[in-house]
Amino acid sequence: MPAGGDAPCALEVRDLDFSYGRLQVLFGVSVDVADGEIVALLGTNGAGKSTLLRAVCGLDLPDRGTVRCFGEDVTRLPAEARVDRGIVQVPGGRSTFPSLTVLENLRTGGYRYRRDRARLDAAVEEVFGHFPVLAERRDQAAGTLSGGEQQMVALGRAFIADPRLLLIDELSLGLAPVIVEQLLGIVRAFAARGTTLVLVEQSVNVALSVATTAYFMERGQVRFGGPAADLLDRPDLLRSVFLEGAEQSLSATPG
């Protein structure tokens, strides 16, 4: 069901309040993502980006507000049920299953259609096509891979899960630019398949190289939402991503 304009909304977050215990982290957050769009979600450390993703995916439930995906209210659905509706997240940090082999890790992505061997095998081969290095290491425990290779496994797993809406938390964190470029390959493949993408990033360059729309969060609130190009005209916000800490420590230091 289209919300607002003509394009059907892949994700529609309205007035979301979220707390860990008594510590409120999100304050009235609203985000709209149109179907097939690529959105960058930017912000400083502790701005609430990852928390927003957790609420969208159902790992934690918000206090107030609604999350609608493809016209359906999913605010109270458990995470597993949201995957059935095509909502998948690549969590930040090392999110693989370390003692499982690369192949086993990838196959968990197809858990929902695990009885359809042919489809699962084809999906795994497609991932191997994007990341040949994973094919070489298919029988190696994922925990023994490098950080970049583990991120490939996590992305590949999500690819096999065949999402309509994919949320990627910190794709580039701690990785070399060469590796990031390889990872962006599969991100573009997602986009080509028509998957709606939300990229949480600290690296503005990476985010804006693929995203058309951007949201900027600070202290649990959305401070900017609009075309990515417009965000580039807001040096005040962008600077804070990189320099807030530095500016504070500069002003705190006498002389």
Binding site: Y20, G21, R22, L23, V25, G46, G48, S50, T51, R54, C57, G58, L59, P78, A79, E80, V83, D84, V88, Q89, V90, P91, S95, T96, F97, P98, S99, L100, E104, N105, R107, T108, G109, G110, Y111, R112, R114, R115, A154, R157, A158, A161
Partner: protein, 657 residues
């Protein structure tokens, strides 16, 4: 076929074939239990102390149905397996799922409560059987005779089924989508949910499987062991299964089978050559060696963090803390408690006063857990070993060496500290649940071997009570007052430990070991200090207990008491001194006051579980809530403005993941 292979060098050691075969059979039962333990550990990250009891209850169901109701064996066995699966599901749904985010220690103690509850059920069912002579029902009558060894039907079944079950489970986890999903869910629940794996349903599935496996083991073991299979599924069996599971690094099922076999064979061969106590000694050495050679990677950091227990005590704002009235609260509380404790025995009978003396002694042991687990974050299921060692050492010193009583109390504490440091050294490499395993093994070896030595407690000793001229502590009442003084000393030791630099180091290492090391906190010394203080307190309490009872022997310090010491600390609220003392009163008090064994099990287990589910901070949580009320009134009177931060929740909030 009475073949005996004899080794003549370096020691004469016989290896009879019969013992090897028998060892292999019992080893397979350990293996099957170990498989169940591994499954649960993988999915819930906890050692299920109720594992044996799930099966024992199912076995009791079979005994009742066949012996009393005349059911056919196979129908009854099927019903029992279903019941066991149902029990597993029930535990998972009612307890484990609710404690999903709780520290693993709390979950461990919860499984202890479940074990007692199931034990109650088993006793209850066993008591309804009138026809006891028939023995435990058995599926068929085939027996295999090998020389002097007769293998029972159950044992024959073990030989055939255990390798098959282990192989089938291993294949399931390796080759099926669902099996791989089970492993994935165990490793990273969030990531698993994000690809649509129903982690909760999987957890229930694992508990059901474990229940059925445990029931299967019990049914196969029972025909050889008689109706009261319950007693044989106690700590001894648990320890052997745990040893096998640990040797398999709590992951590999085929290795668990091999380890179970090895343990069984070692046990039977050693028992042939030496006494039963030496078996425990050998097993202890095997477990410790296995734990020490495991490389660090075996325990992942994620697990270590699951053990962190933040103090529930909310610190007061500095300005409030310094109010004289506020500072007086704990002293006034201590004074009132002491006055009550001194006044209570007047008008009580001697046996009631003795009960109070045991409460006091166990409260000291409880404080040793408060220091080790509450302050330092290291778990021990073997505190009663130090308790027993303290009693035995103090006896030896006073009676054999004529050391004055005071000195003996102190020295037995020192002995406890020394032993605790030795036991704690492996803790530098192993942590969390693995430490629970090694301390449990130590408790077993202490009870079965160490205390039985003639230079310890031997077959049973009478430790005299002290007197100095006219000051005679021979009467129950006088000795109670002495014990109370000992508790006061222990409380002050705890309190001062907490407030000193040592205490800050303990908590720093507990909360973040790497960070603490970066700030030059000596991690090794700090951990061992915790063990030393804890060992001192437990042995000190044990010495007081030893001189308080009429006589004591090996059986006075059963391993299960270690679990009770931990549970009194949890009931009291970990890291809360007054809570621990109250917890000791509740646990020991109920135990000695309730005469019927059944009701004892029922009341302690249900009480423990309700407390864990609804009052995770224990009694201490209530105490501190009360304190905060009083402080609030005092603060308002003093006209101190309290910032909003002081209103932060006492239970720590989780940081952004």
């Amino acid at each position: 076929m009475e073949y005996v292979f004899t080794l003549h060098w370096p020691i004469t050691f016989e290896v009879p074939v019969v013992s090897v075969v028998l060892g292999a059979v019992v080893g397979l039962s350990y293996a099957l239990l170990a498989v169940g333990l591994i499954l649960i550990y993988r999915s819930t990250r906890v050692i299920n102390l109720a594992h044996g009891e799930m099966g024992a209850l199912a076995a009791a169901v079979v005994a009742v149905l066949v012996n009393e109701r005349g059911w056919a064996y196979w129908t009854a066995a099927l019903v029992a397996l279903v019941v066991a699966g149902f029990l597993g599901a029930l535990v998972e749904l009612v307890i484990i799922r609710r404690l999903f985010r709780a520290p693993r220690l709390i979950v461990l103690v919860a499984t202890m409560g479940v074990a007692q509850l199931f034990l109650f059920g088993t006793y209850f069912l066993n008591d309804t059987i009138d026809n006891r002579l028939a023995g435990f029902p058995s599926p068929f009558d085939t027996r295999l005779t090998l020389g002097s060894l007769v293998l029972q039907p159950g044992e024959l079944t073990l030989l055939v089924t255990v390798p098959l079950i282990a192989a089938a489970l291993a294949a399931f986890f390796r080759f099926t989508g669902f099996g791989v999903a089970v492993r994935a869910a165990a490793e990273n629940a969030d990531s698993a949910r994000l690809v649509g794996i129903p982690t909760r349903r999987i957890s229930t599935f694992v508990w059901v499987t474990a229940g059925v496996l445990s029931a299967g083991t019990a049914l196969m073991l029972a025909p050889g062991r008689g109706l009261t299979v319950t007693e044989s599924l106690g700590p001894d069996l648990l320890m052997r299964a745990l040893a096998a599971a640990v040797l398999a690094r709590l992951t590999s099922l085929p290795r668990a089978v091999a380890a179970g076999l090895a343990i069984g064979v070692i046990e039977k061969v050693v028992a042939w050559n030496y006494a039963v106590g030496e078996v425990e000694l050998v097993l202890f050495v095997v477990v410790m060696a296995a734990l020490l050679v495991q490389h660090r990677g075996a325990v992942r950091d994620t697990e270590a963090s699951a053990w962190q227990l933040s103090t529930l005590v909310r610190p007061l704002p500095r300005a409030v803390q310094q109010l004289p009235a506020v500072r007086a609260i704990s002293w006034v509380g201590l004074g009132v408690a002491l006055a009550v404790a001194v006044a209570v025995p007047f008008g009580l009978s001697n046996s009631q006063i003795f009960l109070l003396t045991s409460v006091v002694a166990f409260a000291i042991a409880g404080l040793s857990v408060t220091v080790l687990t509450g302050y330092s974050g290291q778990i021990s299921l073997g505190q009663v070993a130090f308790f027993g060692i303290g009693a035995a050492v103090s006896y030896q010193l006073t009676v054999e060496l004529y050391v004055p009583f005071w000195m003996a109390l102190l020295l037995s504490g020192v002995a406890g500290a020394a032993v605790a440091v030795l036991v704690g050294i492996p803790a530098l490499r192993i942590r969390g649940l693995f430490l629970a395993v090694s301390t449990l093994a130590f408790a077993l070896v202490t009870q079965k071997w160490l205390l039985g030595q003639t230079w310890m407690a031997g077959p049973g000793v009478i430790a005299p009570r002290p007197y100095w001229g006219r000051l005679d502590f021979a009467s129950q009442h006088a000795y109670y007052n002495l014990a109370l003084a000992g508790l006061l000393v222990a409380v002050l030791v705890c309190r001062n430990t907490l407030r000193s630099g040592v205490g800050r180091n303990l908590m720093a290492v507990r909360d973040n070991e790497a960070q603490a090391a970066a700030f030059t906190v000596p991690v090794v010394r700090t951990k061992l200090t915790a063990f030393a203080i804890s060992g001192f307190l437990a042995a000190f309490g044990g010495a007081i207990y030893g001189h308080g009872v009429e006589t004591f022997q090996v059986a006075s310090f059963p391993v299960s008491d270690s679990l009770r010491v931990v549970s009194m600390t949890i009931i009291g609220g970990l890291a809360s001194i007054p809570g621990t003392v109250i917890g000791a009163f509740v646990v020991v008090g109920i135990d000695r006051l309730v005469e019927v064994q059944y009701l004892k099990l029922l009341s302690t287990s249900v009480g423990l579980l309700v407390l864990l589910l609804y009052l995770p901070g224990g009694i201490g949580q209530l105490l501190y809530a009360g304190r905060d009320r009083i402080v609030a009134v005092l603060t308002r009177r003093a006209g101190i403005e309290v910032s909003a931060d002081a209103d932060a929740p006492a239970v720590p909030v989780r940081a952004e993941p």
